[in-house]
Subunit: 425 residues, 2 copies
């Protein structure tokens, strides 16, 4: 799965000029970082710094793989969340069937780091984007899927890959009215099928895909999933499917349990790979995904039986830069460092350099606003908080936190830096 | 100013795995990109891609330098906006006195690329952050300033740089009640002055700094600026200033004209460098900063006399990925690609590959929402828009657009790629 042959264009170095790392005289391989002996609490990193908990990552990796496996489903974690190939490798080693990515650029990055099966959960559009995929398809060990939902688009794929003399596997995307991409009705579906039939075998139909996350009602989601199963049955019955097993894929990070339930009992009268695509489970969060997971723990019997749940594994640490008024501290943490679109970061731990260990923050501390490089922290007059203190923030929305960092240190439970993962946004 | 001696740790390569560039077999120097012959309209770039207009950058560079010079002020453009050292170099070549940066990490990046005078418009806090600055201060050609606003913080600087046997230049930051950092009143000011006096010459007072952008009323801003001038006069009169000329600095991108007016007529009875720090002028935008600049064109006599104004120089291009409903197109452009915190991107140009040139978009096209990797574009049924069409989006808030890109292509007016600038976020 990790053929070195395809890794020649990958820069495997930690750049000393990146933020959130320790002192480096020169670029080095991430594998040697552990030997540097950096420790977060000894102030060896320049803050702000994002850190991943090694033990929590391992917990989440195992948790989701077990969940998918018990449903008989394949896992193709959405790599757009982290865009960190070292984490992709861990997801694949834990048993994932492949990776999901969102763009041709992301696909290229994953392939360059050894990923050999990719579901691009998007339409592939544009000359250079198609060319990048065509270059990867020269690799016979690489299996690739992208989505189609329109006649124009199928024709563009057929034209491009017809000229390169290659074939390309696609999944038809089903969508809902008012949703995002995807065919809305039977007429659109039939038009796409006709276009596929006219592609002279260049564009091969491998199955069906949905993204149920555009809906927010469980009943509507189940109905949408049943429509997907029924549609795929129709495609199987009419001999439209050109891969065996066929692929039936759905599931973002909020409804993967419902998708697993509905898809795992699908019978299309032919071999089937049910492929789940959650991405945020790996680091989880304390915001939108903790709320979604709480619902899953309640409604899903397997999650309930597993007793444990996903754990937040990503925090961002920053210094108190100023306490200019008794009820306000300014923290050196900004929109450049952490997601702010799905809830502001939540202060979690307080550490004063020189002490033994961090303590939980006062429950009333709250981020009330953020600028590019600053956060406003509301405190109470008299709180024991000083310039130079460190605060760990929990986050909401891992995707838009990962993309703020080029290197993210991985820590053990004693805050030693044991690894560094690089991102490719 | 660009001493190669200090550039040894800089990776001067365009990584083939970065998004928004053309086909590269291997990493290459940005200087050779122009020879590749890439053209945006020929679909040589993988989209989405951010592009900078060469001619507009040059216009804006010259415009702001002239503005500052005519006021007798120095320009220290805020580099946090772009974090692109090739743009820093152009700002310095155009006449800038130095660069402003926001964090120790950013300071290190700028110094590694040859910048030799830096105003860090923030408090310097934390052991590793101070150590990074200490490493740079070994370079005798490097002049550095950071801000102080609290006793604790001055003591921490004095302790750290006392141990390294170095001195550090600081500006006292004045702040306003309800604002961000900065001393609020005379008592806080006096406490900081006392702490400076007790630093045994380690922490040297070079002048005074304000960030007027925390206020939004011109009258309040002028009053705040006059308070700064008066405070600096007091420091000069009492022999507190340890640099000649002293430094008096203010000005974000929205009120630089008012700061230039008020500070350029300051007389503190001693030599004075008035330093302006706008950052967004270089690319400008069509959102928050266009609105601010329109006010400047009205209220400032010099801007009025110059007849031209700043021009938006940064756009993000993306493909139409799907038109699933008659009034809705899905564009392959997301929160990962463009700022969304100060207004959503505005569609500006429409181009169908194969045509001669782009045309302005229909006035009623509008981005109504964004996800991580998608934008919803509201159109009217019957509009001539297809899958595979390219759309150029104008942006609001350059800072949070730059930080989405590791490489940004620079284009001439015929959409040829003539350069690539790298960012270091």
């Amino acid at each position: 799965m990790f053929d070195k042959k395809y890794q020649s264009d990958v820069a495997l170095t930690v750049n000393p000029l990146d933020k959130g790392i320790g002192a480096l005289d020169a670029a080095c391989a991430p594998e040697v970082i552990a030997a540097r002996g950096w420790n977060l609490l000894r102030e060896d990193l320049n803050l702000p710094a994002a850190v991943l908990s090694q033990s929590r990552l391992e917990h989440n990796l195992a948790w989701m793989q077990r969940f998918a496996t018990e449903y008989g489903a394949k896992l193709a974690p959405h790599g757009k969340t982290t865009m960190a190939p070292r984490l992709f490798a861990r997801q694949l080693e834990a048993g994932a069937w492949g990776m999901t990515l969102a763009t041709a650029h992301q696909v290229r990055v994953a392939h360059a780091h050894g990923v050999r099966r990719i579901l691009m959960a998007n339409q592939l559009v544009g000359r250079r984007n198609m060319a990048m995929v065509a270059e990867l398809l020269v690799d016979p060990s690489f299996e690739f899927f992208c989505l189609v939902d329109a006649v124009d688009q199928v024709q563009q794929l057929a034209s491009f890959f017809g000229e390169t003399g290659q074939t390309i596997q696609v999944l038809i995307e089903l969508g809902v009215s008012g949703g995002r991409t995807g065919v809305r009705d039977d007429a659109q579906l039939q038009a796409v099928l006709d276009a596929l039939a006219q592609s002279h075998g260049v564009v091969k139909l491998a199955g069906l895909e949905v993204y149920e996350g555009v809906l927010s009602d469980e009943g509507l989601i189940r109905a949408f999933l049943l429509r997907a199963v029924k549609t795929l049955q129709g495609l199987a019955n009419t001999g439209r499917l050109q891969r065996s097993p066929a692929v039936l894929s759905g599931a973002g990070s909020a409804w993967y349990d419902v998708v697993a339930e509905e898809f795992s009992r699908a019978d299309i009268g032919a071999p089937l790979d049910v492929v789940l695509r959650p991405g945020c489970y790996l680091t989880h969060d304390v915001g939108v995904y903790r709320a979604a997971q709480a619902q899953i723990q309640v409604r899903n019997p397997l999650a309930h039986k597993m007793r444990t749940s996903l754990l937040p594994a990503l925090q961002v640490w920053a210094y108190v830069q100023s306490v200019p008024e008794p009820a306000c501290a300014i923290v050196a943490l900004g929109k450049r460092d952490v997601a702010f679109d799905a809830g502001l970061p939540l202060p979690a731990l307080h550490f004063r350099p020189g002490r033994c260990k961090p303590s939980p923050v006062s429950a009333h501390w709250e981020v009330t606003g953020m600028m590019d490089q600053h956060a406003y922290l509301k405190i109470t007059p008299g709180d024991d908080l000083r310039v130079g203190d460190m605060i760990a923030f929990d986050i909401s929305h891992p995707c838009l936190t990962f993309d703020k960092w080029r290197q993210i240190c991985v820590i053990d439970d004693a805050y030693n830096i044991v690894d560094v993962v690089q991102t490719y946004f």
